[in-house]
């Protein structure tokens, strides 16, 4: 049965590529990038086999493996989404037992570039274990990395599935949003904190941390082969139990949320809100906004950024990341108590962090028409002008993001050593954010793509996870490139003169947005039917 699911997934993948040249190109690019990273990972993991440095046999599997598990846990949630080619809801009516569906969907989830990449990279550990313990250790480790992959995939599925059902239900969605925000907040600083701590802490301390990690699901699977190599058979069995137990628990959890996902279609729909209101329709929509086209567009967009689970998830992760990034450079220092008072991070580093923030903040708009899907037809029917449309979208999104950017700038200024740095930080971030808006508006019109019409806010179509990542990456770099003059200026100006960045940045950012809206707006006027076709899911 599992084979049938696997074949089904491959067939759907194949059919998705058929006759779509750009998708094939994208798929191949993704495969190449994946294999490139897999190769680097493989080499790094073989370091575990260096005989002259025995501590690497603990450090590499524990920390490397832990990073991979953590990546599988968080990256789909905050960045790429999950490939829901086989939507669980489609199996609801078939006479299949729950374990069958579970095993089948799990098998299908194992098929994909990320899984292959992970397996190839961790295969470096097989070589490493083999160097230490010969064939038996290598064979054990080979099984162990497969178990590790199962654990990773189970973790990512359980995580996204649980979050999507939480974000769906009105009762729990706000709690889920906060939890998601905190997870997103973990991603950046954790990595940097680990690196920073690794630089400062002594080797023996690191080894102790790695040993501890080896007894958690994050490191356990990858150390099994090395236990066998060292003759610690009891430890190997213990870690095997941890791994298997974790997989079992994750699958059980996934099965529970899967049940609700399968019923999702039929059970959707909240209790209707029948409260009458005496306010007129226009007043209900607009509140105090101007009673014009733009007012209506802004009002609807502002509501949608919060009411649409997909947009909300995107808004929250980007929002939190933008406040957290300036912190993360400094966090490693805070975590090492034996160090005396560390000097504040250099101004340039923080400025760079803030520019990244500004660029990242605009990325949520890269597929803004995809969020609307076919509903965008209403704008075509009403003949909304491209400029009006884009201006309203930029304004509505900025209603949420600008306050966050101000907070981020204050954080960065404090970290840099005082309020006198605030104007520069604010100017820099606004300039890049403006340039980012312009770039992402263009991306959203030129490279819109359809999102599946499921209730899972993390679901993307086959291959679209990659498209999404590549587009976002391109938009990110494009924004920084578009703001290059400000970046240069930020590096040149210092001291009192750095305050000049505020007016210059505001004007530059504002100018970029205006230019973007004008140019892209005209493009949208010509391309609107094509945008609609691009965001219409193929059925």
């Amino acid at each position: 049965m599992a084979v049938t699911f696997a074949r089904l997934k491959l067939r759907v993948l194949g059919n998705g590529l058929r006759g779509q040249t750009w998708r094939i190109v994208l798929f191949v690019v993704g495969l190449v990038i994946g294999l490139w990273f897999a190769g680097i990972g493989f080499l790094l993991f073989t370091l575990s086999g260096v005989r002259s440095q025995p501590e690497l046999a603990v450090l590499v599997p524990a920390f490397g493996g832990g990073m991979i598990v953590l990546g599988w846990l968080l990256v789909p949630l905050v960045w790429s989404g999950v490939d829901e080619t086989l939507d669980p809801a489609r199996f609801a009516l078939l006479p299949l037992s729950r374990p069958t569906v579970l095993v089948g969907l799990f098998t299908a989830a194992l098929i994909g570039v990320p899984a292959v990449t992970t397996l190839v990279a961790t295969a470096g550990l097989v070589v490493g274990a083999g160097r230490h313990g010969g064939l038996p250790a290598a064979a054990t480790e080979a099984v162990a990395i497969v178990l590790g992959l199962l654990l990773c995939v189970a973790a990512s599925r359980a995580m996204t599935s649980a979050f999507s059902s939480l974000l769906r239900a009105r009762r729990t969605r706000d709690t889920a949003a906060v939890a998601l925000a905190m997870l997103a907040a973990l991603l950046g600083p954790l990595q940097i904190a680990v690196f920073a701590a690794a630089q400062r802490a002594g080797l023996d301390r690191l080894v102790r941390a790695a040993e501890l990690l080896g007894w958690t699901p994050f490191g356990a699977p990858y150390l099994i082969g090395f236990d066998v190599a060292a003759g610690r058979y009891a430890a190997a069995l213990g870690r095997l139990a941890i791994t298997a137990g974790t997989i079992a628990v994750l699958l059980w959890w996934w099965a529970r949320t899967l049940e609700s996902a399968m019923l999702g279609v039929a059970a959707a729909g909240a209790a209707p809100d029948r409260r009458r209101t005496t306010r007129s329709p226009v007043a209900q929509l607009l509140g105090r906004l101007p009673r014009t086209r733009s007012g209506a567009l802004v009002a609807r967009e502002v509501r949608y950024w919060w009411r649409d689970a997909r947009r909300r998830a995107s808004l929250i992760t980007v929002g939190v990341l933008s406040v957290v990034i300036p912190f993360s450079g400094n966090l490693g220092a805070l975590l090492t108590p034996d160090e005396v008072r560390t000097p504040p991070p250099p101004f340039g580093l923080l400025m760079g962090a803030m520019m990244t923030v500004g660029s990242l903040a605009a990325v949520s708009l890269a597929n803004q028409f995809g969020f609307d899907g076919t509903a965008y037809a209403a704008h075509l029917i009403a003949g909304v002008k491209g400029r009006t449309e884009l201006a309203a979208r930029a304004i509505a999104y900025s209603v949420y993001i600008l306050p966050l950017l101000v907070v981020a700038s204050i954080v960065a200024a404090v970290l840099a050593g005082g309020p006198e740095h605030l104007p520069a930080m604010l100017g820099g971030v606004l300039a890049v954010y403006g340039a980012g808006l312009a770039v992402n508006l263009a991306v959203s019109v030129v490279a819109a793509y359809a999102l599946p019409e499921t209730s899972n806010p993390f679901a993307v179509n086959t291959g679209a996870g990659l498209a999404k990542s590549l587009l976002a990456m391109g938009a990110l770099l494009g924004a920084l490139a578009a703001a290059a003059p400000i970046v240069v200026l930020a590096l040149v100006l210092d001291g009192v003169w750095s305050a000049l960045l505020l007016p210059v940045g505001v004007v530059y950012g504002g100018g970029a947005v205006w230019l973007g809206i004008t140019v892209v707006g005209e493009l949208l006027d010509r391309r609107a039917p094509e945008v609609l076709a691009a965001v219409t899911p193929r059925r």
């Binding site: 009458r276 609307d372 209403a378 704008h379 075509l380 003949g383």
Partner: protein, 251 residues
């Protein structure tokens, strides 16, 4: 160019990859007519109507709404046009009243007029009881009705409705029929697609039958059906098969 036609299609063609969905359609919908576009599933009805209202760019051909070229002068054409698309989501995370206000303001209408008409439409379509319920939580029939209200709000001279009676219960269907009939009596023109013969026979002054991307028959209702039943004419024109009783004996 016939000036009386409310909607005129000239040589519309649409291909999806290798498949020809619409193979060169010419059609005139006379002003003041109640026009039914009939066809089996996959005949190209939705594709044709989407091209006629400016949602889908045709590979060839032109469409005119009351003499205005939809693809050359979209703003002017869309002002006189009300559309209820099928298989298209609404901005369904707004309430019904909010959605109407949104649609009206997008069309640049006076807010006071929007308020007055929206309240009236909600009342007539029996949607005011839903209060502030989001459209996403509406039933299928309610969604059709709010979609129709959005299409009617700016008092267009031509209504293009794609499957307006699909998934609608008899009570709502009767209501929609009555509203549309009154609209045509008042001088408006309606073209709608359907594959329900009874509705078409009861409402329409004109019909066209589509199959495999081209018009097979068009004219007034009496011209097309002659002395026969519309359903017989339809099945014959489209070339459907009838069951002989031999197959599916295992059922």
């Amino acid at each position: 160019m016939t000036t009386q036609a409310a909607l005129a299609l000239r040589g519309l063609v649409k291909r999806f990859d290798a498949k020809v969905a619409v193979a060169g359609i010419d059609l005139d919908v006379p002003a003041g007519s109640f026009f039914g576009l009939l066809g089996p599933n996959g005949a190209g009805k939705t594709t044709t109507l989407s091209m006629a209202v400016g949602l889908l760019r045709p590979d060839a051909g032109r469409a005119f709404v009351l003499g205005q070229d939809v693809w050359a002068d979209p703003v002017e054409a869309k002002r006189r046009l009300g559309v209820l698309p099928d298989g298209v989501r609404l901005f369904d995370r707004l309430g019904g009243a909010e959605l109407l206000a949104y649609t009206g303001l997008l069309r640049g209408m006076d807010p006071a007029v929007v308020d007055q008409r929206a309240v009236e439409l909600l009342d007539v379509l029996a949607l005011s009881g839903a209060g502030r319920t989001l459209v996403v939580d509406y039933s299928a029939g309610m969604r059709k009705k709010i979609g129709l209200a959005c299409a009617l709000l700016h008092a267009p001279r031509l209504l293009v409705l794609d499957e307006p009676f699909e998934a609608v219960d008899p009570v709502s269907a009767a209501l929609i029929r009555e509203i549309l009939q009154r609209y045509v009596v008042g001088g408006g023109t309606v073209i709608f697609s359907s594959h329900v013969m009874e509705v078409v026979e009861r409402l329409c002054t004109h019909v066209a039958i589509m199959a495999e991307g081209s018009i097979r028959a068009a004219g007034t209702l009496d011209e097309v059906r002659g002395a026969r039943d519309l359903e017989d004419v339809f099945v014959e024109t489209v070339g459907g098969r009838t069951a002989t009783g031999e197959e599916l004996s295992w059922l």
